[in-house]
Subunit: 256 residues, 2 copies
């Protein structure tokens, strides 16, 4: 399935699954939609926290169509699932946001770690959430962010169990992709970054960790959702964790 | 101090310390000296286990002078401390091996992780054993080697405590130096590789590990000494752990 075909299925509401493992080779992106009044602060917040919030493209106000990641794709119905936030609460999850769209909205597309998973798999590193068709495990941490205006809080991370003999290789491989979170922010010892129970992720699905595996943690584009809880904006929209925008850009375009 | 000056001090027996932190920027090497009868097996053993035993140069039989790592340097008195092995026992440590030298000896110079420490320090990664002028901590593990002839056993690793926020960077940086052990073989959780007490290294000095640090393990050129215990050869010579041969080759010559 090409990204164009996947986005068409999504727009017809025929695809409602996490996008990890689909359209291998193409960059996937997190979405944050804010009214124009908060856009400048949020852009500065992303620039100040590039590891969890690598800004790939800004769209609008006045349009919901990307020009860089997938020219012409409409961001109001080409992600499988959205979250609508009011006053810091995730009020509902919806399949398209056309009913909520207003022309003052600005769309932020942020890099996603699914983009480097292809490179890990190519190097022989198995990914359990992909093998088991689950959503990746994501956790709130105590890693502080650089706050800007109403946007304050701590980093969210994704976790992948990696065989102990492949941990260093996973760091090296993902380090080649700085625009999609790059190398891990933490390796092993979840309690050191404020995670108390790996079996209970804050977002996504739990996965088993085998005796010869080490939990490895990457900065995650769900971080803004953690921050939105604190910001309590009257209105915001994001993707649902794991249900990403799949672009037309090849992952290798972001490799260094 | 240049490598030439350091080797001259050593030859005059005016320097008897671990060489970590000296002649920054220059490749340091492990030494194994064997009679010619065992040289072919040991060379194959090194080729089969390139991570702990990266073969940089072979010297002899018939000469003890290097031609590649430090042209003209005499390997019988330019390392600060040697170990003389008989029947698998480390019989004595000596400052030069001229009394033991016979023309049938072959000298193997193997890459050493001290060579990438300069790059770690340049990236802002502190190394406690260097700061405290100690020998690096080294441990026997349960990581199996590929055996060749009498050379059989498990890998020895060096350990450096790294701040949790710099672990991935340490993997990336040292991964650029595959000829001097490259990226770590293990990160965190010492018990997973058979190390029961980090405070009691099998070679070198113990160093403290702070609450925000993770023990990171690299393959170590002391591995052959572990293997010599099993091989029980009538006669062998090695460097003493941490007391390396300092070459005239710049570390960057081995960076990829």
């Amino acid at each position: 399935m090409t990204p164009t075909e996947l986005r068409a299925q999504i727009a017809r509401q025929m695809f409602d699954k996490p996008t990890a493992g689909y359209c291998n080779g193409y960059v996937q992106a997190n979405l944050v939609v804010l009214p124009k009044t908060h856009a400048a602060d949020f852009e500065r917040f992303c620039r100040a926290n590039p590891k969890p919030c690598p800004l790939l493209e800004m769209v609008g106000p006045g349009t919901a169509k990307t020009s860089k990641l997938a020219p012409g794709a409409d961001l109001t119905d080409t992600l499988p699932r959205y979250r609508v936030w009011r006053d810091g609460h995730n009020e509902q999850e919806v399949a398209d946001i056309k009913p909520f769209y207003t022309p003052d909205m600005v769309f932020f597309l942020l890099g996603c770690s699914f983009s480097f998973e292809e490179a890990l798999v190519k190097a022989g590193i198995r990914l359990r959430h992909v093998d088991q068709a689950k959503n990746v495990s994501m956790y709130r941490t105590n890693l502080p962010l650089v706050g800007v205006g109403p946007f304050q809080g701590e980093m969210v991370v994704s976790m992948r169990p990696i065989h102990r003999s492949q941990v260093a290789q996973a760091c090296i491989i993902t380090g080649r992709y700085p625009e999609v979170h790059g190398e891990p922010v933490h390796v092993g010892y979840p309690e050191m970054i404020g995670i108390t129970d790996l079996a209970k992720p804050d977002y996504g699905d739990p996965v088993e960790i085998m005796a010869d595996e080490i939990p490895v943690f990457w900065a995650c584009g769900v971080t803004p959702q953690n921050v939105l809880v604190n910001a309590r904006l009257p209105m915001a929209i994001t993707h649902a964790p794991g249900y990403m925008f799949v672009s037309d850009i090849k992952n290798e375009a972001y490799a260094v």
